[in-house]
């Protein structure tokens, strides 16, 4: 735009209008994102109990390393992250590849069916999963009828199975969402590339690993980073999957579904509120998110 309007004076006019158009958004972002980021950092150096505020410097951060609940929440979230994200993204890639095949019929129906879970409310689907995965729920009954298991699996009452349930729920909800990004990327790959590979005798599996994955690398990186950040923020699902299952003070059996976000919420609004400590937890999560993103960039070998 600016190139075609190099006449003197116009540049500054466009600059003014540019700022006018972005100003409302910037005001919102400064107030509701930038200011909270800075204030959170400041607050994390204080221990707060109600109106009492004592400066503790890095005290909150050193306290975190001795906080068994916090460490447990980190362990939980990293376990879920390492298992769930790769499974989901691989599934999404496979679905996208299948749906991109020109020979497949009723594509729109499959695409809608796979994407539909992404439209549902996190709370609503989690509640349904809780019912389905209860001891006498649909899942156990089906598994027993087809003879896969002899006695009901204690899905939500056992720490291990609770995590499995959460992983299944997350995969159901988000696979279609990620698939959409891959589909968009696949449509940019000319069909001739695959036809040429076919003539050279490459099987579908070879095509998938040698053409699809390398060409989709930027989008795979994008979905990996967004899924990682999404997982680090997990709140709605563990809260509602765990609710009422054991006691009010434990998130899932033996706190197996305790995530950092849930812990932050508990520190702020459930126990005696300590906003300073909660801010310190938030900052650790931000740092973990940033470090993981950098690692993912490095692994993908993207130079930006």
């Amino acid at each position: 735009m600016s190139k075609s309007y190099k006449r003197k004076g116009l540049e500054s006019v466009w600059d003014k209008w540019g700022w006018i158009f972005v100003s409302l958004m910037m005001a919102g972002v400064i107030l509701f994102i930038f200011y909270p980021i800075v204030y959170s950092l400041y607050l994390s150096t204080f221990s707060t109990r109600g109106f009492l505020k004592t400066f503790v410097g890095f005290g909150n951060y050193t306290k975190l390393f001795r906080d068994t609940y916090f460490i447990l929440s980190l362990k939980n979230i990293l376990t879920i992250l390492v298992i769930q994200v790769p499974i989901m993204l691989f599934l999404a890639l496979i679905f996208a590849t299948l749906l991109n095949d020109p020979k497949v019929k009723f594509k729109a129906i499959y695409r809608t069916a796979l994407f539909l879970p992404a439209v549902t409310s996190l709370v609503a689907y989690t509640v349904i999963f809780r019912v389905m995965f209860s001891n006498d729920g649909l899942v156990n009954r089906v598994l027993m009828t087809i003879g896969l298991i002899k006695e009901p699996i204690r899905w939500l009452l056992d720490p291990f199975w609770a995590k499995v349930t959460l992983i299944i729920a997350l995969t159901w909800r988000w696979t279609g969402y990620n698939m959409m990004f891959y589909l968009a990327g696949l449509q940019n790959i000319p069909i001739e590339v695959y036809e040429a590979a076919e003539i050279d005798g490459a099987t579908k599996t070879v095509q998938f690993f040698k053409i699809t994955i390398p060409l989709l690398k930027p989008i795979i990186l994008f979905t990996t980073i967004t899924s990682t950040i999404g997982t680090l923020q997990l709140f709605d699902e563990p809260m509602n999957l765990a609710a009422g299952v054991v006691t009010g003070s434990s998130v899932g059996p033996g706190n197996s579904l305790l995530t950092p976000s849930v812990y932050i919420y508990n520190v702020c609004f459930k126990y005696s509120p300590n906003f300073g400590y909660a801010s310190a937890i938030s900052y650790i999560i931000v740092i973990i998110a940033a470090v993981l993103a950098i690692i993912q960039f490095k692994v993908a070998g993207e130079k930006e």
Partner: protein, 220 residues
């Protein structure tokens, strides 16, 4: 049907649905106006300094919401907006994702039309609101669905801000009925269906625009 009656009589279903509708309506209208203006500003009047601001904006998408929650809560306390719907609505208006989405969409807008309007002496704001905006219907439809989805389904932030029963949203209601010790799952399922129905109707009505919008914004 008994479940529906129970929901209506014992759980204020009507009020709760109205609350959700009110919050979503305001979020959708304000956030698509604000973020489409920003997307337009960043794309049509691109400059070096604004591109830097844009990059900083995109980086904030990396920050988990939980990290902003505490200061936001204090901010809302300062504005006296705890337990009010505006307290829920305001922070949901500036959407970085939608700004990104609109900027991508405006890349495809023919610049000649804007030039022609300028030659005709139209004011920049007028060009945007009466020429550009009406011709981008499918982008706006997709953005509206996205904004509606996020605001209608929001849980954590309303949970923090809303405290009294009569201000609750449908999602909060479902969560609180379901987390009781012996929840009546018939009632819960009824509430889930009622909460999901508007989403499905909107999604199926505007599905084409939505899918194209999502695909288009990634394609570049």
């Amino acid at each position: 049907m008994n479940n529906l009656k129970n929901l209506w009589e014992n759980y204020n279903l009507g009020t709760v649905l109205l609350n959700s509708a009110k919050i979503s309506l305001f979020v959708v209208v304000f956030s698509i106006v604000v973020s489409s203006m920003a997307g337009y500003g960043f794309e049509i009047y691109a400059s070096k300094s604004r591109n830097r601001v844009y990059s900083a904006l995109l980086l904030t998408m990396m920050i988990p919401f939980a990290a902003l929650m505490v200061p936001l809560f204090r901010l809302m306390y300062f504005f006296n907006l705890i337990d009010s719907h505006w307290g829920v609505i305001l922070p949901m208006i500036p959407s970085v994702f939608l700004t990104f989405f609109f900027r991508q969409s405006f890349k495809q807008y023919p610049k000649e039309i804007i030039m022609a309007a300028r030659v005709d002496g139209a004011n920049e704001l007028r060009i945007f609101f009466s020429i550009v905006l009406p011709s981008m219907k499918s982008s706006y439809a997709a953005a509206a669905i996205y904004a509606f989805m996020t605001s209608w389904n929001a849980y954590l932030w309303p949970l923090v801000i809303i405290q009294s029963e009569q201000n609750k949203t449908i999602v909060l209601m479902i969560s609180s009925i379901a987390s009781g010790y012996t929840p009546d799952f018939g009632v819960v399922m009824m509430a889930v269906v009622i909460a999901t129905l508007p989403m499905l109707v909107v999604f199926f009505a505007l599905q084409k625009q939505f899918v194209q919008g999502v695909l288009g914004s990634v394609k570049q």
